[in-house]
């Protein structure tokens, strides 16, 4: 490499410029790719969505400003609230990064909900039935969650690649199958007999996620999510695999021409996204509920699609997008308690934001960098 470097035209600044560019590294590149413009658009869209929702709150006879004040207090008002919000953001970020990678390659994976469920199931099984070894049990359970989620994504990928069924259909439909499998097991062999509710017995304490801040509920999941963001960004922008994904997302014809196997890439990116969703499922079980509960995934997998899109399918931007949704939900729950505005308005806000962001990105898409 050094030799090729020196072959550059004599006297040109070509030798120093790339080095300088590299200092900026991938973050610079992501920001450039994402564009300051896009960020401003997103912020504007969020503000617009809040404004429209304020009208809705007013129509329902409540005071928008006191509702929003309750929302802000609920999100940031105390360490406990912040801890809750960060915990809530974790599955969004983790799953959102995987989905963002898929969407980059135009593999429209909307199967995270099922992948989270199967991942949570696998993590639970390992935590309950494996020998109770300290330091090993939690990693083993999380790895099992990853494998479970990846396996579920693999099923969707196989049907899609080998049989030509569109991946939207296979991933969407397998969500329901995944949720039903979990439900079935919780009603049967995995259920807690005395509970009267479809849930597993409580996990041994050894399998509980350690707390990040003692005295709060904040567990170390958010760190895993941040690592996933950094790793996802690295993979997308710095590796040949990321190059393949971006290439395939732009044009299958160009990918074929460059000798990139689109079916291999589809499998790979689906497995990665499935594993991340599975880890998110495992973290919910080990960090929040300490047991597997029917419906524990709460639609995270679907909301994560919104997170990935809000982050313009850029792993770095998935972090703020995931935090946004997590804090918004935390605040909305308080808002519901204190002002009586239904927390489902969160989805109105998120939905509005999505519509505004996507339509503004759509307008500027002509010159968007990949």
């Amino acid at each position: 490499m050094t030799t090729t470097h020196q072959e550059g035209p004599p006297g040109s600044t070509g030798d120093t410029v790339p080095v300088v560019k590299r200092e900026g590294g991938m973050l610079a590149k992501s920001i450039r790719a994402n564009g300051l413009r896009t960020m401003l658009l997103v912020v504007a869209a969020v503000l617009l969505a809040f404004a429209v929702t304020a009208v809705l709150i007013a129509i329902s006879g409540k005071n928008p400003s006191s509702a929003y004040w309750a929302l802000i207090k609920g999100a940031f008002g105390s360490t406990d609230r912040i801890a809750f919000a960060l915990n809530r953001s974790t599955p969004y970020i983790l799953t959102g990064v995987g989905i963002a990678l898929c969407f980059r390659a135009k593999v429209i994976n909307i199967g995270a909900e099922g992948q989270i469920a199967i991942g949570g199931l696998a993590a639970t099984a390992v935590a309950l039935y494996l020998p109770q070894l300290p330091l090993v049990l939690i990693p083993a359970a999380i790895v099992a969650g990853a494998i479970g989620g990846a396996a579920w994504a693999w099923v969707a990928a196989v049907i899609s690649v080998k049989r030509g069924v569109h991946v939207v259909l296979t991933t969407l439909l397998l969500n329901f199958v995944g949720l039903l499998i979990v439900g079935h097991l919780l009603h049967g062999i995995l259920g807690d007999p005395g509970a009267g509710f479809p849930q597993s017995p409580i996990l041994p304490e050894m399998a509980w996620f350690p707390k990040l801040l003692p005295g709060t509920d904040l567990h170390i999941g958010i760190l895993v999510a941040v690592v996933a963001v950094v790793a996802g960004n690295f993979v997308l922008w710095r590796t040949t695999f990321g190059f393949r994904l971006r290439l395939m997302g732009e044009s299958h014809a160009a990918a074929d021409y460059a000798g990139v196997s689109t079916s291999q890439c589809t499998f790979a990116v689906m497995l990665i996204a499935g594993a991340m969703a599975g880890v998110a499922g495992g973290i919910e079980v080990l960090g929040v509920h300490y047991r597997l509960i029917e419906g524990f995934s709460l639609g995270f997998g679907f909301s994560a699609v919104a997170v990935a899109l809000l982050g313009a399918t850029n792993p770095v931007a998935v972090l703020p997008a995931g935090l946004f949704l997590g804090f918004l939900e935390a605040g909305a729950l308080s808002m519901q308690r204190e002002v009586g505005v239904p927390s489902s308005l969160v989805f109105v806000i998120v939905g509005m934001t999505m519509v505004f962001v996507l339509s503004s990105i759509g307008m500027s898409t002509r010159l968007r960098r990949v």
Partner: protein
């Protein structure tokens, strides 16, 4: 019946048609003949009101047509049969005919319309069943549905654009019979084709277009295939532009008995044989859609043949992957810049790395080496004089000529043994075209074996050391440029000359 006077249309710098006069009398069939891009389609789009002319007058049945829309053209009595039919597969023939019926006229009942179809069908020997579902009909029958549709809407002039390109010989004869019936009953027809035989057989008058101008008019009776081919192609072998003479190198690429069928079972390539030596250009002429794309895709490894083999330097690469073909020195310039050879939204440097990113020096153990990618991009930009803001500018901000320079820089820069170039000058201005041609010639002089495929006959004649013609998936024997007869090439392109298949080349 129809008079078009001085029709002119320019697209930017391109003169699509220039001062064209066309006359069609009642009950006559006019043949419109010309190469791709000669202006036939533009002329008919102007007639039908799809395209506005810059200048010129159209008079139809004594009435002037200006600023008309296709709807007006239909109402005036012009029926257009497009190459791609405008029919709804899931509907019956009757429903298709009734679809888009003129609003002002009273809409007929289904039974009335069916009767109209049956009558017209009997009258002109069309054999169309009004109750058949269009999706179930053969290509030839669908075409006749289109004709019925036009007639029932009161067309006095029918325009058929390349009507026989997808028909079997028997269907062609049926179509010609139908056209004779139409003529006998006083309808006029404009028949667009580059198939000389059919033109002579069915037409009364022939107008030949070349480069947007009428180059000749004659009565079909007095025309011969040779005279028409000469008119259509109309040039002698152009003088070679500074090409060095050197002895032929070793045989590099051998293609034997290559055949391929598409999903519907149509033969796209049949029994193609070719041999390519180091330092020579074999140029393939042919009208678009005669198997060129299938041939280059099979050579580049993007699709696989049903039969036959491809041998590169003695090694059978028929089933080799794109990557292994790349590493054994096959470079490929596809015709489609926007989707295949370039990724418009990616940067110049990423596009330059498109085909070599997976191996050193551009990447190591799966990690992209940005300083190497950057340095190599800068070298390419300098060497090929690509005018661009910087290596990280998106390719879509570049002009067509600069975009193609990126493709050339990448494919030539990798030091190929074989270059496959499919219409590399497509859509380029003369300056950029010249640049591409000079690069190809320089590569030839450097000892690379080059396969150059183009629909531009002039380029083929300029570049080829040996020249061959592809027509309906068959490749003629490559003839050395000294022995090339332009008329014969024109005939072979039009599919009328007997194509002598190339003999099977000897193994190296």
């Amino acid at each position: 019946m129809l008079e078009m006077r001085g029709i002119t249309k320019t697209y930017g710098a391109l003169r699509a048609v220039h001062g064209v006069d066309v006359n069609v009398a009642r009950g006559r069939v006019l043949g419109l003949l010309g190469e791709n891009g000669a202006g036939k389609s533009t002329l008919m789009k102007i007639l039908f009101g799809i395209v506005r002319p810059d200048a010129g007058r159209i008079t139809f049945k004594g009435q002037e047509l200006t600023g008309h829309t296709p709807k007006d053209a239909i109402a005036a009595g012009i029926g257009m049969i497009h190459q791609h039919f405008m029919l709804v597969d899931a509907m019956t023939v009757t429903e298709n005919v009734m679809l888009g019926w003129n609003k002002t006229a009273r809409k007929p009942r289904v039974s009335e319309c069916a009767k109209l179809i049956t009558d017209a069908s009997k009258n002109y020997g069309l054999e169309v069943d009004p109750n058949a579902e269009v999706g179930q009909l053969s290509y030839g029958r669908r075409q006749r549905v289109e004709i019925v549709k036009a007639i029932i809407r009161g067309a006095d002039l029918l325009v058929l654009d390349e009507p026989t390109s997808n028909l079997s010989p028997a269907e062609v004869n049926q179509l010609l019979d139908v056209l004779r019936q139409l003529r006998n009953q006083g309808k006029s027809v404009i028949y667009i084709s580059h198939k000389l035989g059919e033109i002579i057989e069915i037409c009364d008058d022939i107008t030949v277009l070349r480069d947007g101008e009428v180059i000749g008019e004659c009565a079909a009776k007095s025309a011969t295939r040779a005279s028409l081919a000469q008119m259509m192609v109309g040039r002698e072998v152009p003088p070679a532009i500074k090409r060095s003479e050197h002895a032929l190198g070793q045989e590099v690429l051998v293609v034997k008995g290559l055949s391929r069928h598409d999903a519907e079972g149509f033969a796209r390539l049949s029994e193609i044989n070719l041999s390519l030596h180091a330092g020579e250009i074999v140029a393939i002429a042919g009208i678009d859609g005669n198997g060129q794309a299938d041939f280059v895709n099979v050579l580049a490894g993007l699709s696989s043949p049903d039969q036959g083999c491809i041998i590169l330097n003695g090694r059978d690469i028929t089933r080799a992957s794109v990557r292994s073909r790349l590493s054994c020195g096959i470079s490929y310039i596809p015709v489609d810049r926007v989707r295949t050879s370039l990724v418009p939204r990616m940067s110049v440097e990423e596009n330059l790395a498109l085909r070599d990113f997976f191996a050193p020096p551009l990447s190591r153990r799966g990690l992209l080496d940005f300083s190497a990618i950057h340095a190599s991009a800068r070298r390419c930009i300098e060497k090929f004089g690509i005018s661009v803001a910087g290596p990280d500018a998106p390719v879509q901000t570049l002009s067509g000529g600069n975009q193609q320079k990126i493709v050339l820089a990448r494919e030539i820069g990798r030091g190929p043994k074989v270059l496959i170039a499919h219409q590399p000058t497509w859509g380029l201005d003369p300056g950029a075209t010249r640049f591409v041609i000079d690069q190809v010639l320089a590569l030839r002089d450097a000892g690379v074996a080059i396969l150059y495929i183009s629909t531009e006959l002039e380029e083929v004649l300029t570049l080829g050391d040996r020249i061959s013609v592809i027509c309906t998936g068959r490749l003629s024997e490559a003839v050395p440029r000294e022995h090339v007869d332009v008329t014969e090439i024109g005939l072979a392109m039009a599919g009328t000359a007997e194509i002598r298949p190339a003999p099977v080349a000897a193994f190296v």
